[in-house]
Symmetry: D2
Subunit: 299 residues, 4 copies
Amino acid sequence: MEIGFIGLGNMGAAIAINLIKGGQSVSIWNRTATALKPVLDAGAMAATDAEAVFAAPVVFSMLADDAAIQGLLLDSGVLERVGAAGRAGGKRIIHVNMATVSAAFAEELAQRHADYGIDYIAAPVMGRPDVAAAAKLTILAAGPAAARQRVQPLFDLISQKTVDCGERAAQANVLKLAVNMMLVSAIEAMSEASALVHAYEIEPKMLIDLVSGTLFPGPVYQGYGGMIARSQYEPAGFRAALGLKDVRLAIAAGEQQQVPLPLASLLRDSLLEALAHGDGDKDLASLGAVSARRSNRPR
Amino acid sequence: MEIGFIGLGNMGAAIAINLIKGGQSVSIWNRTATALKPVLDAGAMAATDAEAVFAAPVVFSMLADDAAIQGLLLDSGVLERVGAAGRAGGKRIIHVNMATVSAAFAEELAQRHADYGIDYIAAPVMGRPDVAAAAKLTILAAGPAAARQRVQPLFDLISQKTVDCGERAAQANVLKLAVNMMLVSAIEAMSEASALVHAYEIEPKMLIDLVSGTLFPGPVYQGYGGMIARSQYEPAGFRAALGLKDVRLAIAAGEQQQVPLPLASLLRDSLLEALAHGDGDKDLASLGAVSARRSNRPR
Amino acid sequence: MEIGFIGLGNMGAAIAINLIKGGQSVSIWNRTATALKPVLDAGAMAATDAEAVFAAPVVFSMLADDAAIQGLLLDSGVLERVGAAGRAGGKRIIHVNMATVSAAFAEELAQRHADYGIDYIAAPVMGRPDVAAAAKLTILAAGPAAARQRVQPLFDLISQKTVDCGERAAQANVLKLAVNMMLVSAIEAMSEASALVHAYEIEPKMLIDLVSGTLFPGPVYQGYGGMIARSQYEPAGFRAALGLKDVRLAIAAGEQQQVPLPLASLLRDSLLEALAHGDGDKDLASLGAVSARRSNRPR
Amino acid sequence: MEIGFIGLGNMGAAIAINLIKGGQSVSIWNRTATALKPVLDAGAMAATDAEAVFAAPVVFSMLADDAAIQGLLLDSGVLERVGAAGRAGGKRIIHVNMATVSAAFAEELAQRHADYGIDYIAAPVMGRPDVAAAAKLTILAAGPAAARQRVQPLFDLISQKTVDCGERAAQANVLKLAVNMMLVSAIEAMSEASALVHAYEIEPKMLIDLVSGTLFPGPVYQGYGGMIARSQYEPAGFRAALGLKDVRLAIAAGEQQQVPLPLASLLRDSLLEALAHGDGDKDLASLGAVSARRSNRPR
C-alpha cells in the first residue's frame, strides 16, 4: 500500500522502516532533512513537502507535540486542502496520529478531521525507540472502526498488539497519558525508596533487585530501577523533559474533567526540579538524583 | 527443634503451622487465647505465658506493632529475665522478630537483646496471609550471621526465599518499609490513573488490563489493580489501616535520617482520607475510592 | 481625557465608573451588551465595537483570560489595524491591560504591541470588586516608563497605590500571580488548620479570631478566615474557579523558568476538588469545605 | 507568691525573669546548670532538683518536648510523689506546662496529673524569645477553671493576653499546633513565591514589601518575609528544627483524629530538606533557601 509518513525522529524512523520492511511503499517528510537519511536508505521516497505526503491514502504522523501538529497540519491549511482534494477525487484519506497529544487537542483534531472529510485515528504507542525498532510496540487505537480495520494490517507490521480504544480519539490519548503517569510514579517511588534505604547504608541495587524479583517484575522496575541503582542516567531512553510533557498533559486532562491528581502534581514538581538541575535531556530515571539531592546524600 | 512462637494473628498462625508441618515442635502463646485454636489443632503446645515460650532455644514473634512488643517483651521484663536465665544456663536464645517495626525501634531492640545476651534477628516478611500459608513468603533477614545460619532451615520451611540484609537489624526493617512504600505508591498511581480515565468514559479495567499485560506485570498491579477496577475493596488482603502504619514508619525512618519523602507523605494523607471515610478495615486498594471521591465520580 | 474601556465585568465596570467620576470621557464595549448598563448610566458612551474603542488615545481592558484577549484583540486583527491607523495618524495609542494573564502571554502581548506600534502597559490589580468600587485597588504596573507616567493620573483615580514593576510587562503579571498564590495558600492553611481544631471540638472561629488578632492581622485572614469559620462560601468575593485559574498561571510561570512550586500544585488539586464538588462559583474560601470533607467532618 | 520554674532555655528564662520582676518568689531548676545564671542574677533561688521545685504551690515548666517531660516528671516518679505529698499535706499543687507538646501527650498528662491530685494547666505560648522578654506573649490556657483563675495574675505578668481554651488540656495544644502550622505555611508560601518572582528577575524584597503593605500586614510576613528577601537566616528566632517538631506534632494530632493535612505534610518535607542541608539551627525562614535550591537559583 502507498503510505505517507511525517515526523521521523527516533520513534517515527523506526516505525517507518518497519512499514517498509513489511512491503509498504512509504513516502516521507520531516522538518529537518537530515533525519530522513536512514529511512531513505531503507527504501523510502522523499516527498517535497508535508502536503505532498497526503497523496497517499494512509498517512502516519509522529510529531513532537500539539504545537507541531497545529502548525504543520492545521494552521498551514494542509489538512483542509488535502481533505478537500480527497473529497473532490472521491477518496477518503486516513490520518494515523501516533503522537502523545493532549486530550483537548485530540478532541479538536478529531473534529477538524471530520470537518475536512478525513478519517482520524488516534494511535499513541507504548514503547521506547528500541521497542519500536523491534516492531514490539503496543498501539492504543481510537477512531472510526472501519478506518481502524483498514490500517490494522499496517499496525501489525509495527507492533505486537493493538488495543481497541473505541471511536473517541481522546480515549486513546488519555489512556496513554494515564499509563505514562503510572510509569513516572513508579520511577518516583523507586527514587524515594532508594534515597531512604541509602540513608541506612543499604545499596539501592539491593532494593531494586528485591522488588523486581518479587512484587514488581517487568521492564519498568528492572530497567529504570537499574538506572537509579547505578545512578546512571545516560543515555536517555525516555528523556525527563518528555516525561514532564506527558505528566503535564495528564494533569491538563484531569483538570478538564475536574479530576484532582495530586500524585501527578508531585511528579511534575520533581521532574521540574530535575530540569532545573540540568537533567532534562537525561533519562526519566534521573528522578533518582532529585531524591538523592533532597536528602543531601548524592550517590 | 523446639521452637517458641508468640503472636498468632493471620500471618503468625500460618507461619507457625508451616513450622509444625516441617516437623518442628512448637509452643505458642497469644494475647487472646481464641487465636490459638487452629495452631493447636495443627499440633502446637500452649505455653502458660509469653515468658514460658522462651524455654525454647529459638523463638519467633509476629506482634502487631512497636507498642505491642515494647509492652509484652521489654517493659514486662520478659526479655531481660529470659536472657539472664539463658546466660545462667549457658545457652543463648535466638529471637526472630517477623513484625514490621520502626527503624528506630529495630535499633533499640537489637541493642536491648545484645544487652540481655539474646541473639536478635530482624526478619520482616513480604507476602500476605495466603502467601504465608503457602510457605511462599520472602524473608528479609538481618542480625548476627551465625544465628541467621542456625535458623535458616526454619526459614526454608516457611518461605521461598531469604534475603540476606546483613548484620544490622534496622536494615531489614527499612528495606521492608521501602518495599511497602513502593507498594502503596503503585496503588495510589492506579487509583488516580483510574479516576482520570473514568472521567473520559474509559473503564478502569481497560487501563489495568493494559498495564498489567505490558509495563507492569506481576501480582501488585494485577491484584490490587483488579480490586480498583471492580471498586471492590473487601475482603481485605492488606488492610488500609496497616498500610497507613507502614507508610508512617517509612516516613519516620526517613525523618530520622533527614530524607524527605514527599510521595510517602502524599500516600499517608490519602490513606488517612480512606480511614476518615470508614475504609480502614478495607483493602489498601480502597485508595481507589479516595481518588474517585475527590473527583466526585464515585464508581 | 478620552479613554476607551473594554470588558465590563464586576471589576471592569467598577473601574470604568471611577474613571468617569474622575472626569474622564469614557467609551465602552463589552461582549455582552447587558453589562454596559450601569456604566452607561454613569455617563459612558457605547462604542460600536471593540475596534472603535481604540479611537481613544488610552484604552483600558479587563478581559477574562488569555483566550479572550487573543481572540478579541490579536486573532481579530484589531490591534494590528489600530496600531497601523495610529502610526498613519501620527499618534501612539496606549493599551493598559488590567487582566491577570499568563507570564508567557504577557511577553507575547508586549512583543505584539511593540510590533504594532502601540504602548503596552501590564497593569494587573489587587483587590476585589468592592475594593475596585472604592477606588482602593493596588495596581502593579509594568511597561514603557513614559507611557506609564502618562496614565498615572488615571491610575490615581481608581487606586490607592501604583507599584512600579519596571519595563518588562511579564514582571507585573508574575508579581500578581505570586501574590495570588500566597493568598490561596493562606486560605488552604486556614482550611486545614480549621479541620484540625474542629476534630478536637474547638470552634474554627476561635482559631481564626486568635490568629487574625495576633500573627496574621489584615483582610485575608480575617475575611476569608471568617467565611471558613462560618462555613459560608456565598456570595463569592473571589470565585474558586478564578482562583484556580490564577494558581494554574502561577504554576505555568514557574514551569517556564523551571521553578518547582509544590505548594501551588497542592492548591491546584484542592481547588480542583472544590470545583469537582460543585463549588467553582463559590468563594475561594470553599477550600474550607474541601478540608472538612477530606476528614469526613462536614461543618 | 512562691513559684517553681523548671526549664530555663531562652523562653523559660525570659518568662521566669518576668515573674520575678512582677514580685514573685521563684525557685528554679534546669537540666544544665549554666542556664540558671541570668535567672539567678535576676533574683531566683536555685532548687536542689526538679522535685524540690514542687515545694511551691504553683510550678511552671517549659521543657523541650514530650520526651523531656516524660523522663523528668513521669518516669522519674517526681509528679507521683509530689502529688502524694501534696495530698498528705492537704494542699493541691498547680502545674502550668508551657511547652508545645503533642495532643496525645497532652491528654495523657492531664490524666496523670488528675490521678496524682495535681491541677494541670496546659499553657503553650505564642511568641518568640524577644516577645517573651517583653512580656508580650499570648498564652493559650486550658485546664480546670478554678486553677486557671488562680494563676491568671501570674499570666498577666508575662503576657499581653490569655486565651481561654476551656477545660480540656489538648485543646490548648492543638490550637498552638494549628497556629504554628499556619505560620510555617506562610513561610513556605513566601519562599515559593520568592523563587518564582526571582526567576523573572524581580527582587523578592519587592514581593514581600508589596504583600506586607497590603494583603498581609503583621509580624510574620514582614519578619520572616524580610529574612527570605535578604536570604539571611541567622540568627534564628525560631529554629527550623523546632518548626519541624511542631509541624510533626500537628500531623500527629491530625492522624489521631483522621484529619488529612496535605499542606502540613508538604511543610514537613520542605523542613526536612532544610535540615538535610544543614539548616536545622537556622531560622524557619530558611525554607526560602529550599525553594531557591529546588529551582537551582540560589540567592
